[in-house]
Structure formats: C-alpha cells, structure tokens
C-alpha cells in the first residue's frame, strides 16, 4: 500500500536526523510529496542526544520542537520509522526502492500512556543513552520522540514479559505478532542523509577506552551533562561516581590519523570547547579542563567562542597529541606525552578523560545505491556540484563531517536538487 502513495513525483529522504528532517521539510514546504525513512524508532538522530549546541549553548530539542511542529502541520511528509533501504534500482526521475520495515510491536493506537513500561520487568541497555543506562524493554526512546509511540525490544518477544505489556495496554496498541515487512516504493529523487557515527574509541588502543572506566567519549559526555541523562546532569566519573572536576579533553581521537580516520572531523574542537563550559557550570572555579590538541580548528565566527574559552582561567591548552594513558592505583587516568611548544614532557593525572571522537560516516556498514560516489573516508561526494546527472544527493553529515548549521545548509541544498529532478520529470509527464 506504501507503493501506491508514492510516485515518481515523490522525494525519498533517507535518514531522520536533523539533516534528513530538514531536507524533507524544506521540500515539503515547497509543496512536494516526501517520504522520510528512519532506521530507528524515532526521528531526531544524534542531535537529539546532545545536551547543548555550540556556540550559543542552546538546546538541540528547541530546534527539534520547531521542526516537529512543521512536520505535524504538513501533510506532504510521510514518516516511516524503523525502516531501512534495502535496494535502489532505476534511474534519475524513476527509482524503485525496496524498504525493510522492522516490527515495532506497537501500533498507532499508542497514546504514550506508559502502562506497558510499568508492566514489563526486563531491562535493556538504553541505545538512546549510548548504553550508559538501562531502560525497560518497553520504552519511549526519549521525551521528544516522534512518533510519540512506545517500542518493544525484540529480545522480549515470545516471553511472558511481552504478554504482560500487551495485557497492560488498554488500547490494543501492542501487536506481538507484528512481522518484518518488505515494501517497494517509487521515487523521483532520493536525498541520502544517513549522517554519522562516533568512531569506535576502543580501536585507539593507547587511550585504553576498552580498559579504563574513566576514559569516555565526547558523545557519552553529552549524556552525562544532560539533566535527563544517566547521571541526572551531574559530571560523575564511571569508576566510582566521584565528581569529575579535573577533566582532560583529547582532540583528534581517531581523526587526522592514518591508523584510524584520515580526515579531520571538523566539529570536535568546538565540541570540546563547549564541553569545558559544562565543567565550569558544574564546578565553577574548582573546575579544571585541559585540552590536548594538534591544531584548534574553529573556523569563521566561531573564533570568538574560542577566545572566550581561552580567557577562562579554569581551562588550559596543551599542543600535544597524547601518547598514551595509564591508570593509577586510584583509578585515575594519567596522561603521558609532550607539549610540543618548546618541548615539555608531562605525566598528568586527571579525574576523567573525554576523547573527542571523530565522525565516521554511517555510509560505512549500510547498503548503498551502487552508483553512489564516496570519498576516501566514505563520505558521499558531489553534494556541492552543479546539478548533475544523478538523482541521488547526499545531505548533511553523510557528505562531510559537518556541524548542525552546515548540515542543515547542506540538506536544504540537497532538497532543491531533489526538487529539480521531480520538476523535470513532471514537466516531461506534462504534470506541471
């Protein structure tokens, strides 16, 4: 039935993060029909898991609220969550796309009343907390989830717990026999906005992310800072729950490194500068942030954010790629390396280490259309070229390590390219 509503006039947007939502909404607000598919149970992507944005220190959910309101008020966008693209065939203006819909086990009757979660006992790692916290196996991804429907973790299907959930629901919203579905849709153009994932920090062996509890990643730190996160917004270190006042930020954790990611991930410098604010907010003058860097890459007007942080006496900068981390007997990470500005060796103890992990494109590890052009790091090429022959356009962090502002810029551009395709086809078909 999905196929029937989609035509070669439809624009398919793959990925429901800020990039995909933007591309979908901008096209829809130009009057185009859009199908927005998202792999997870909710829209929002990675930005929904961030605490604040640089440089304004405002909250990602604020922009998401506006985008969701745009979405609720616009009938041109059809959202399909828990949906992945299996296969794309056809040509510019006339694509056939095979989609896999994974069962949510909860239907649109769900009112988000939460009774099922009360009934279920099984707890699972919460993927929307980077597995730093547990959640019931019947759960709402987060407070800003769209659609505002619960989801059942597949692990409990066929167990008594699942039955309890079903029984607890007064609205027949839980369908335990929901099956995986494969559907085919038509689309004239495709915007590929599959975004990024944090580089696997365990691969950076000298930093011992896999061995030391008090070495965490920058995305995890966002959750710690978040009042709705696993620590209720307190900056406590994992090993012993001690207040982490003296925090080291290690830049280029995976980025600019031919053993890991060739490219510079662009956002990490600003992200760490932003996170020093969290430390200051939490501990005032007792806070101590140290940024270990190769080059501080905060371009354009963001420079003054950097200047402000430099003036903060609780923040210091060391031009050095940390050589290795060891753990002392008290479980404190000790950083070893050399400050290259004039050569000074250090062996510095911190409460907590935050690795500014690089951005790896999600294109690595998912099925892509055959003719898609990727660069050496796996980012989609061509998004900034004049309208080409292809009808598939990369958008947002899938095209380059971009911050939110530039992802949205990129997604808006991609939306226009997609519109060009359907306009051309409709002209051909004499629709317009």
């Amino acid at each position: 039935m999905t196929a029937s509503i989609a035509t070669s006039q439809t624009i398919l947007v793959v990925g429901g993060g800020i990039g995909g939502m933007t591309a979908a909404l901008e096209a829809a607000e130009c009057g185009k029909q859009v199908i927005l598919v998202e792999r997870n149970a909710t829209l929002g992507g990675r930005t929904a898991l961030l605490y604040r944005y640089f440089p304004k220190m405002c909250h990602p959910t604020c922009g998401m609220e506006i985008n969701l309101r745009r979405l609720k008020g616009n009938r041109n966008v059809r959202v399909m969550t828990m949906t992945e693209v299996l296969e794309v065939s056809g040509v510019r203006g006339d694509y056939t796309v095979k989609l896999k819909l994974s069962p949510r086990y909860v239907n649109a009757n769900c009112t988000a009343c939460g009774e099922c979660a009360k009934a279920v006992e099984t707890e699972i790692d919460n993927p929307y907390e980077y597995n730093l916290a547990k959640t019931r196996a019947a759960y709402l991804p987060h407070n800003m989830a769209y659609p505002m429907h619960y989801v059942l973790d597949p692990s409990i299907i066929g167990t008594a717990d699942a039955e309890k959930a079903r029984a607890a629901c007064k609205y027949d919203a839980i369908e335990l026999d929901m099956q995986e579905e494969i559907v085919e849709i038509k689309a004239g153009a495709i915007v590929w906005a599959t975004g990024w994932k944090p580089y696997d920090a365990a691969k950076i062996q000298p930093y011992g992310y896999d061995r030391f509890a008090n070495v965490i990643t920058s995305v995890e730190f966002e959750r710690f800072a978040n009042p709705h996160g696993p620590t209720g917004g307190k900056l406590l270190r994992p090993s012993d729950g001690k207040e982490a006042k003296n925090i080291a930020f290690i830049q280029c954790a995976g980025s600019r490194d031919e053993n890991h990611l060739r490219h510079c991930s662009r956002i990490c410098c600003m992200a760490s500068l932003k996170q020093t604010h969290y430390v200051r907010e939490a501990y005032g003058d007792d806070a101590k942030s140290t940024i270990y860097y190769i080059d501080i890459r905060v371009i354009d007007r963001l420079e003054d954010f950097y200047l402000k942080v430099q003036q903060d006496p609780t923040v210091s900068f060391i031009k050095s790629k940390v050589a290795k981390i060891v753990e002392d007997k008290a479980g404190n990470p000790v950083l070893h390396g050399v400050d290259t500005e004039g050569y000074h060796r250090y062996a510095t103890t911190h409460d907590l280490v935050v690795l500014a992990v690089g951005m790896e494109p999600e294109t690595r590890g998912i099925k892509l259309p055959d003719d898609m052009l990727l660069d050496s790091s796996g980012f989609i090429e061509g998004s900034n070229l004049p309208a080409g022959v292809e009808g598939i356009y990369g958008a947002g962090a899938a095209t380059s390590p971009l911050d939110v502002n530039r992802s949205v810029q990129s997604a808006t551009a991609a939306a226009l390219r997609a519109i060009q395709v359907v306009h051309k086809t409709s002209t051909v078909e004499g629709v317009r």
């Binding site: 405002c58 988000a112 490219h263 890459r297 420079e303 500005e341 790091s377 900034n384 309208a387 502002n405």
Partner: protein, 752 residues
C-alpha cells in the same frame, strides 16, 4: 471577511482514556462544557484518538455541520495525526499532560485535580468561541520569480540552481562582468577526491551557462536603487551605471553580495604596503599572469622563496583588526604554495601558521602540500622588512621556541573576508530617532549611510537586512541557517558568514530553495518559517487605531510600514505571525483569527476563582509555545508534580502578550501571573527576535498599574525557561506558589 462566515456550531469532546476517566469526573467535565462552555454538542469517549473516536468527530463535522471543536483530552502537542481536522476551528483542553500527569497522586488531591480539569475545559470552550478558522491572507500574490543580487560564485549558483528548478531569475551584478572574486582565481582548492591538487574554478563555464539560460536575465553594471513591497510582490528599481532605471517585480530575493578583502595597508608591521608583499588576491593575479609557468613578482623577477603569513589581520583580540577567522585562508595558502611548487619544486615555500585549519578532507590537501615539499612552520610573524632586493620575515618558531628569520622574494598575507552587507540597521534606527528629534548631523549621517545600502529597502526598520556580529548578515539560529529577519530575502555566501567556494555554492543552493519557498508560500497566503503554513494573519481595525506607531516600531521583521497619515500599513507577506504587534497595541485593534486579545482574554476570565478564604490561590501562566510549554508538557510526560493552582495558556511568543491580559487576570482575582519565555541577551533563543525582552520591558512598566491596584509587584514575574527545564519549571511553579501563599490572597478577589 467576518461577515461572510457561515453559522458557527460548537462541539466539545471529552476523552476518558489514558487514566482521565479514573482520575477525573469526566461527566462533570462534560456538563461544564455544556452548561458553562455553552457547547452546542458535547460527547464523551473512552478512547477519543482511536479510529472510532476520530470518526465520531468527522461524522459530526459532516452531518451536524460542526464548525468549532474543543478536544478535552491530551496536550495540543500529542496525537496531532489523529486530531487533524483542517476544515474546522479547534482548541485543545490539556487534561493529560496538563492535569492528571502533574497533579500529585491520591484522594487528597482529587478536589484540586478536578478543579484544574474543570477550568481547562472552561478555557478550551472560551477560547473556541472567540476563534475562527484561519482562511489565509486574502491579498494573494502571484510572483514566483527571484531577484539575485551579486554575480559572484554564490549569486551565479543561486541563479542557476533556481532556474534549473524552473523559476525565472533576474541576476544583478554591479561590475561589468560576472564571476566576482572566484572569477579572479587561477585555481580553486579541491572539492572532490583525492583532494590533492588545485582545480579549475569552473566560474567562466558557470557564468556562460547562466548568461545563456532561457530563464535568467542578467543585468551588469547595475545596483539596487529601491526595494519595496513584500514576498510575492517585491517592486525593485535597478539603477544602471548610465543612470537609467529599470523597474522589475519579483517574488523573493537572494542577496549574494559577497565580501571585500581586508586592506593590507592596515598591516604595516607585516609589510603591508611594501613592494612584493601581496594579499591572497594579489597572488592570484600573479598566478594568472604566470599562467601555469614559473611564478614571477610584479617586477618580473622569478620567485625562489615565498612566505605565507596566516591569520594576517585576523583572529585579532587587540581590537585593531578582524577578530574572526575567515576559514578558507589556510587551504588557499596551501593551494597558492602549490602554484610555486608545481611550477618549480626547488622554490622554497613556507607557510607560517598558528593553527592550520583545513577541516574535513582538507587534511588530504595539507598532506599533499607537505608531500610537494611545502614547509609548514607553527609560528607568529613579528615583522616583514625590505632587504636588498628581497624581504626578511622575522617570526617566532613556536615548536623550536626561538626566533627565526626567512629571506623571501615574495610575502603573501592571508587576510580575511569583510562582508559587503550594506547598512547597519541598528545604527540606522538610532540615527532615525535622532533625526526625527531634529538632529541635523543625524540626517546628514543617514544620507551618507544610505549611499552604501545594497537593497535600499523602503522598510521602516531600515534599508538593509539586519547584521549580526562583525557585519555578517547571518541567521542567528543554529538549526535554521536561513532564518533571516526580512521575510523573503535570503543572504548567501560570504556576506552571511566567512566561507570558501565549496560552502558558498552549497549555501547559495539552499538560499535559492528558501527564496522559492517564500514566493510559493506568499502566493498561497501562508506564513513563512518558523510558522510555515500558518494561514492566520494580522487583521487590524484601523478605525480604532491611535497612530501610536508601537506596532510599526516593534515588529521584528519590518512587516509594517506607515502611510502618510502615520497609520500602520501591514504587509502580511512579510509577517511571521508572532503577534508582537498584537502585544504592543495599547488599543487592541490587532488580532489573528485564531489568536487574539479575546481568545486569550476569554480563557483568563473563564476560570472559576475560589474566594479568599479557600486557601486556593490561582496563578496564570503565559508560556511561550516553543520552549516553556513543551517543557511543561515533558514535565508531565516524566510525571513531575507541580502545583494544581496554576492555569497555563500557551502563547505564540511573549512578545504577543498584551498587558491587558495581565491586568484582567489580576482584576478578576488571580493571585499571581508567571510569564515563561526563552533566553534573552546576545545568545537569545526567541525566533521572533526579542519577544521575551519586549515582554520584560512591558512588564517593567505595569509596576505602577499594580501599585495603583494595591498589589505587590511580585504578583507578576517573568521566568526564563529552556525546553529542557522539565524539572526546573516545576520548581519555579512550586516556589512561586509558595511565595504567593506567603504573600496572602490577592485583595482583588471578589471584585472580579
């Protein structure tokens, strides 16, 4: 319009699902809707949002000719797919997130919980009766063509992409040829794999395609003499060099006026002004002359040694030069160093940098330059002086921590981009006030200022698009890079923020989409972002207007002009529907069909105020619908308890709050009013620019009114609430209610 509307028939639907039925006496709610709310039709349902419940409502609209419905169930943010009835006016009484999820459990609280629900039903009905179905701005416009100002790479791209989408474009360039700065480049930095070599700019080709495009008209040697009108009906006067004027009409505008380079004469310490010290643009000229051969200086001598000094007059905290980083300069110097190395590998090319900023795949370009033998020295240049036939660069090598000197034939200063963004409208506004006050030199300065204007808008708020820091005409918002303060006018490229060609072309493409979108929305009488698709629009009863000009002055988007009699002239297509004008109007003649002084005022008056002995204070909360209201909603979702004495009304923006609401509330016996808006100041959150600031300002002025009524000023307070403040906002409420209890009941009770 009001007269042509069909018979109003109201209906209320009370849901008992999600525990509403268990925690509330829904029968009573229904009775209230009928008796007090005067709803023509009242129905109950135990699962209103399911297909059956929704069908019931549809049938009533079909068969019972219901035109107005009040849904008494969950928050207006929930179940929007189910409760979607485009043909009728609708209000939502928030009984779930707003009552049963936030009022403490247990029988002890049954009474206050029920009272709260009762009031919300009363409010929902009261609002409904004053609401009308928005029908869209009747002054439809037809124009969907675009004006693109600036023929550089950004303007060319915007024009080309828009035309490729099927929209007509008028492209205006003040120079005699297209291309701008990018047209003066020998090569550009790479934008595709392997990111190793400088690439053709492609500007000439693009310019040719634009000139040849059937949907694009190019005006060279032209500037904008005047821009009047609004999205969908802009009237623009183009002034040719010759002085002749062409008038064109367009639907929307993309401003891609780019930048100028920072003057190296301002950098004497770095050799600015000396022979053979050039900026990056100057180096491109030498490269053009060399045409791929060995690089020569202006005096024809071959360059054997060249030094690039990064951040020249940029990233400056002394206040003398540019404080920001222009982003592209590191990659540009790398590219330019390659000009030398590619022509002759023996040339000594050194780049002196502080932080080498080549984000993303730029790292590969950096590697490529190192591979070609370009030397990168982390250092700070102290001086550049002439020596015999060459130059001497002194700098501190930050790695070796020692002074160093390089002999060079040529020195290139990587200076920054200065945006060409025209008049600073803040200054303009200041001068206008002074000029109106009779200041001669203010008048003088104004006309000087006018001469640098780019768009020459006839708007009351000034002739150009407002600038942010450092003169860049950017959006203030991270999630919405195209949210300018002048509807239908979108800036793109380095005028918006410093950027390289790669970003500029993408930016221009995005701006083209936004311009197209604005024209399309205007033609349908709809609002633009952030209330995209909103069909309501400001309606003014001029007969009641006192020409006080507050609406024209306070409109954040310059939507309201003044006619010769100083009456406001609304340009609905410029309007963003925030309601700031409505909040500003002292005589309350401005309203929206579904959001007016009455729709809110009626709710305020609808509630039941317990007498002063009941020990049940009542607090009115006016909450910004974008941050505070969702925060309150999510407090409910997280089952965070707060006082049942509050009554919450969402507002489009605190800027739309009319002080009459406050005085009405206090007169009718409320004990206090909480105004919840978003963050103020430099990093403000308000998508209507200064809503919470305006509210704060207005409230500061009703202090006297309060004392006049014998009320403590604390009975009205403002709070900054971020969307994540779920727990915090509950805290605010409970503390404030406690404070009021402390203060004792309002003396106004009973007089209401």
């Amino acid at each position: 319009m009001a007269d042509v509307k069909i018979e109003m028939k109201t209906a209320a639907y009370v849901c008992s699902g999600c525990g509403l039925g268990d925690k509330l006496d829904v029968g009573q709610l229904a009775r209230i809707a009928q008796k007090e709310g005067k709803m023509a039709l009242v129905r109950q349902h135990d699962f209103l949002c399911n297909s059956e419940g929704v069908q019931m409502i549809r049938d009533d609209i079909e068969n019972e000719a219901v035109t107005h419905i009040c849904i008494a169930a969950c928050s207006r943010r929930a179940k929007t797919e189910a409760f979607n009835f485009p043909s009728v006016a609708m209000t939502r009484a928030n009984l779930r997130e707003g009552v049963i999820w936030v009022v403490a459990e247990g029988a002890a609280h049954d009474e206050v919980r029920q009272e709260m629900a009762d009031d919300y039903v009363r409010m929902g009905c009261a609002e409904l009766k004053k609401s009308r179905m928005p029908e869209g701005n009747p002054n439809h416009t037809q124009l969907k063509n675009l004006l693109v100002v600036g023929g550089g790479i950004s303007g060319l791209t915007a024009a080309f992409e828009a035309a490729e989408t099927g929209y007509e474009v008028i492209l205006v360039e003040k120079q005699a040829q297209l291309g701008g700065w990018a047209g003066k480049l020998w090569k550009r930095a790479p934008y595709k794999t392997p990111y190793a070599e400088p690439q053709e700019t492609g500007v000439a080709a693009l310019a040719a395609r634009v000139s040849a495009h059937p949907l694009i008209t190019v005006h060279l040697n032209s500037t904008i003499a005047e821009t009047a009108g609004a999205p969908g009906r802009f009237a623009v006067k183009l002034a040719q060099e010759s002085g002749s004027i062409t008038e064109v009409a367009v639907g929307a505008i993309v401003q891609a006026t780019g930048f100028t380079t920072y003057d190296i004469a301002k950098l004497p310490e770095l050799g600015g002004g000396l022979a053979h010290v050039v900026d990056q643009a100057g180096l491109e000229a030498l490269a053009m002359a060399a045409n791929g051969g060995v690089m020569k200086r202006a005096d024809g001598r071959e360059v054997k040694s060249v030094v690039f000094l990064q951040c020249a007059g940029q990233r400056d905290d002394s206040g003398q030069h540019l404080p920001y980083c222009s982003g592209h300069c590191c990659a540009t110097s790398i590219k330019q160093a390659m000009y030398f190395k590619d022509a002759n590998p023996d040339v000594n090319a050194v780049v002196v940098y502080d932080d080498l900023r080549v984000p993303g795949m730029g790292e590969d370009f950096y590697r490529s330059a190192q591979h070609k033998g370009v030397i990168f020295a982390k250092g700070k240049a102290s001086s550049v002086t002439t020596e015999s036939n060459g130059l001497k660069v002194n700098y501190k090598d930050l790695i070796l921590d020692s002074g160093a000197t390089i002999q060079a034939d040529l020195v290139v200063l990587a200076t920054g981009q200065v945006p060409s963004s025209g008049v600073d409208v803040i200054l303009w506004d200041k001068l206008t006030k002074e000029a109106d006050g009779g200041s001669i030199e203010a008048k003088q300065q104004k006309s000087e200022l006018k001469s640098i204007s780019i768009l020459n808008l006839t708007y009351r708020q000034g002739p150009d698009v407002p600038k942010l820091k450092y003169g860049f005409a950017d959006s203030h918002f991270i999630c919405f890079p195209y949210e300018t303060q002048r509807t239908g006018i979108y800036t793109a490229g380095p005028v918006r923020r410093p950027m390289d060609i790669m970003q500029a072309t993408e930016d221009a493409t995005g701006a083209a989409l936004k311009a197209i979108q604005a024209a399309e929305n205007a033609s349908l009488g709809r609002a633009a972002h952030p209330r995209a698709g909103d069909l309501s629009y400001p309606i003014v009863r001029l007969e009641g207007c006192t020409q006080c000009k507050r609406c024209t002055v306070e409109c954040p988007f310059g939507a309201i002009d003044e006619d010769e009699r100083r009456f406001p002239v609304f340009n609905e297509q410029r309007c963003r529907r925030c309601g700031t004008c409505m909040g500003a109007c002292p005589v309350r003649v401005i309203s929206f069909e579904n959001y007016s002084v009455d729709t809110v005022g009626n709710q305020i008056k609808a509630i039941e105020i317990p007498d002063e002995f009941s020990e049940k204070p009542r607090v009115l909360i006016l909450a910004c619908e974008n941050d505070a209201y969702p925060a309150l909603d999510m407090a409910g979702l997280s089952r965070i308890v707060y006082s049942a004495f509050v009554r919450i009304i969402p507002v489009r923006c605190l800027g739309s709050v009319n002080t009459i609401w406050i005085t009405d509330a206090l007169n009718s016996g409320y004990d206090g009013v909480m105004m919840m808006g978003c963050k103020k100041g430099d990093e403000y959150q308000c998508h209507f620019v200064k809503g919470s600031e305006l509210a704060g300002y207005r409230m500061s002025k009703i202090g006297d009114t309060l004392t006049g009524m014998g009320l403590e000023p604390e009975r009205v307070s403002s709070f900054e609430v971020a969307i994540t403040d779920n727990a915090k906002v509950a805290g605010f409420i409970n503390d404030y209610v406690a404070q009021l209890v402390e203060m004792g009941p309002s003396p106004m009770k009973g007089f209401g």
